[in-house]
Symmetry: C2
DNA sequence: CCAACTGTACTAATTATTATAATACAGTTA
DNA sequence: TAACTGTATTATAATAATTAGTACAGTTGG
């Protein structure tokens, strides 16, 4: 289900958070869909349950999933509320990367095209 | 000269690499300008010289600076050659962040504007 | 020529973080 | 009630970041 690089310098739980965010953002995992349990996923990936839980805790903190004691963890039905602070952080990260891309010679048109491509693959906010 | 967050989970040398890349990309540090020496900068920032050198080594590896034994370290006169692999990596990083930005509700227009803004603040490739 | 600067390299010790392991407790459900 | 869920805690091992100290090599101005 996931391709994890154990020997990567990036922590396993961070890799998990990133991959799961992608699945949710691109609606491979639908709203309110149940996620694999901590223990089951740990067994499948042959890593420690604590590592999975750490990823789930982070995803819940960021508003991508919600957990109910005894029932399970589920995809949050709505996108995380537009935290202004969070939005500003992402904006800065994107800007930094855009500058770097332009500096090493990427074409502005290619970057504009990236925005278009992203918009087509991301679930929009139907209601808001 | 730099604001470093010692207690950040992000390693000091990575923070240094990022900040210096910004200075170079936005031409605050001009081509062939000499960088502060490893030992001097270490004293100013009250961190270990080895940490500075690690950052310089990484910057040289990425093509942003060059070092000459006995003379010093200098800003590379040309942007790093457009490594295709490197460009692809950055593209993926940008795409991932763009998707996340759209998902949490940022407007497509704001993201397009970011590209324009970046283009205006980055030194273009005059000769190539 | 030489003192004082530059980059570079190496080893050792310390600290922080990551990941594992082993439990334990609480809530849900068939 | 058994078997599943999330959650929490403690201890341990492994890895990475950082500091510290030392050393060597090349450059340069006096």
């Amino acid at each position: 289900m996931f391709e994890l690089d154990i020997r990567s310098r990036q922590p396993i739980y961070e890799q998990l958070v990133e991959k799961m965010k992608e699945l949710i953002i691109h609606e491979v995992w639908k709203p309110n869909e149940q996620l694999p349990s901590v223990r089951l996923l740990a067994k499948e990936l042959t890593i420690n349950p604590n590592t999975i839980q750490k990823a789930y805790r982070e995803l819940e903190h960021q508003g991508y999933i919600y957990s109910i004691l005894g029932k399970g963890s589920f995809v949050a039905p709505q996108s995380p509320s537009v935290n202004h602070e969070k939005a500003e952080t992402i904006k800065q990260q994107i800007f930094k990367l855009l500058c770097e891309a332009l500096y090493i010679g990427m074409a502005k048109e290619d970057l504009l095209a990236l925005v278009e491509k992203a918009e087509q693959t991301v679930k929009g906010e139907e209601k808001r």
